[in-house]
């Protein structure tokens, strides 16, 4: 349904999106997760036909976003991050206007407005000027506008930004529901939100995809690469030499930390070396005050990825 191939976007010398490729199948909600500045909004804007790519291609429902832009726009409902609206128009008026732009007939518009007013809980303020609405209400209007023409694909950029917890929950449920009949791509920098609504997550940082898959796939991917970290009391040189003797060590690092030695081991794929490290320390009689697996949870991974991106941009 959504296909992105070697997409690159450069703003002057700044590389916002760096050769990313992914595919999203019909139906369901896919999460686009990453820290701020990772390139999510840029990629989304290219998919929504708002900006062009520097190189590479993207297509939705088989139509190229650059060559068949009109066809793509007919099939996409897009909600930008800032939910821009016209403050002087009333909600109903605005939705009617948007319906006309999408070439919906008068009865179609009437039916659609009735339907989305219920779905997005617009009832109480549908005749109020948009300028008088709260952020949460405006967000709902934006979402209503995006789903009004029953598009095949929905692209939502941070749809719960600025909402209170109740509204976030309601929106999340609505998105899950929408996933039953549309293909939805949701971008967010809030991890647990994505975990709850999406059957698949694509994690981006610094313009590149760093991981992709269902929650369990991601967990497996992460655990396979998880480092083992231990803090022991022993001469650093000894620790380094002896730790190398453990089978399955791909790479290791030793550093001093206040009189203790910090050992960080990158194991071969899928090996859990915690027990081996424990056995080593007991055999050598070293005191140990920490033994853990790092980066094994999505949250740790996300924190790591965010920190990496930050270092790259400041370094």
């Amino acid at each position: 349904m959504i296909r992105v191939e070697q997409l690159t976007k450069r703003y002057g010398s700044f590389l916002a999106v760096d050769d990313i490729s992914f595919e999203v199948e019909r139906g369901g909600v896919v999460g686009f997760l990453g820290p701020n500045g990772a390139g999510k909004t840029t990629t989304i804007r290219i998919l929504a036909c708002y900006h062009p790519a520097t190189s590479g291609s993207a297509s939705i429902a088989g139509f190229d976003v650059f060559k068949d832009s009109m066809e793509v726009r007919r099939r996409v409902g897009y909600l930008p991050e800032s939910t821009p609206l016209y403050p002087e128009m009333r909600v109903r008026e605005y939705l009617n206007f948007r319906g006309k732009l999408r070439h919906m007939t008068h009865p179609e518009r009437g039916e659609a407005i009735r339907r989305i007013a219920e779905r997005c809980w617009l009832g109480e303020f549908i005749d109020r000027p948009i300028g008088q609405l709260s952020k949460g209400m405006k967000q709902r209007v934006g979402l209503a506008d995006a789903i009004m023409h029953e598009p095949e694909v929905l692209i939502l950029d941070e749809p719960t930004l600025g909402l209170d917890p109740t509204q976030i929950r309601e929106t999340r449920n609505l998105i899950k529901e929408l996933g039953e009949r549309h293909t939805v791509l949701v971008s967010s920098h809030i991890l647990h939100e994505v975990e709850q609504t999406c059957y698949r997550t694509i994690i981006v940082a610094s313009g590149r995809i760093v991981a992709s898959g269902s929650p369990s796939e991601l967990r497996d991917q992460l655990i396979a690469k998880a480092r083992v970290v231990a803090e022991v009391q022993a001469p650093a040189a000894d620790v380094e030499r002896d730790a190398r003797s453990i089978a399955g060590v791909r790479q290791l690092e030793v550093s001093s930390n206040n009189g203790w030695v910090r050992l960080s081991i990158e194991p071969d794929e899928g090996k859990d070396l915690r027990e081996d490290v424990y056995r080593l320390t007991t055999a050598k009689g070293w005191a140990m005050r920490e033994l853990r697996r790092e980066g094994a949870s999505l949250e740790d991974f996300f924190v790591q990825v965010t920190a990496q991106q930050r270092d790259q941009s400041t370094g």
Binding site: R45, A48, Y50, P52, R74, P84, F97, R98, L101, R102
Partner: protein, 239 residues
Amino acid sequence: MRNIPTMVQRELGAYFLSPIAYAVSAVFLFSTGLAFGLGTFYNGGEASLRSLFEFWMMLILAFVLPMLCMRLFSEEYRGGTIETLMTVPISEVEVVLGKFFGALSFYVVMLASLLLYPILLSSFGPLDGRLLLCNYIGLFLLGSLYISVGLFFSACTKHQIVAVLLSFAVLALATFASHGLAQQVEGWPRAVLQHLSVRTHYFDFVRGMVDTNHVVFFATTTALFLFLTVKRVEVRRWQ
């Protein structure tokens, strides 16, 4: 092209809901009233609208129309609504023409208010209907050109003030300066400058002539600026 009426309706509605449009209309009514009151409607004056239309209107419109047009694109850029506008199945041409005709429609409403003056003068002498019609055609064409210029500069910047200032500068130059410059030179440069001067083309309408030469001038220059506006909007998007 079917989105153009939708855009016109929305822009016209936005004008009637916008305090700025009312303020601009007030400025228009005040300045035309002043020009009429001081320049025509005094004891012993000639009962003709000529001085109003010949000189004052060009100056007043060069001020007022840019102010009317400044919000057309600048507001969309500022508010981010350009993003939701350009991601529905509408072309840049439809957007530009829709905004152009929306502004033009509001201008026509403003022009209707001018009818007060010939009505007032008609109590002093016979009203020349055909002359008035010529004047109005001239004002309509002049306004179209000014609006297309205002629209273009609005599409160039998200700052409404900059749009107004640039439009006014260009209009003042094209309307007044080129005529003044033409007076300084002789021979073919003079002819060229006069032909490029908006004033030259507008004046015949004031005098009661509808010369196709002039209609073509206004039509092509308006079309030129509309074309430039479409290109400007496209460039901004395809960056």
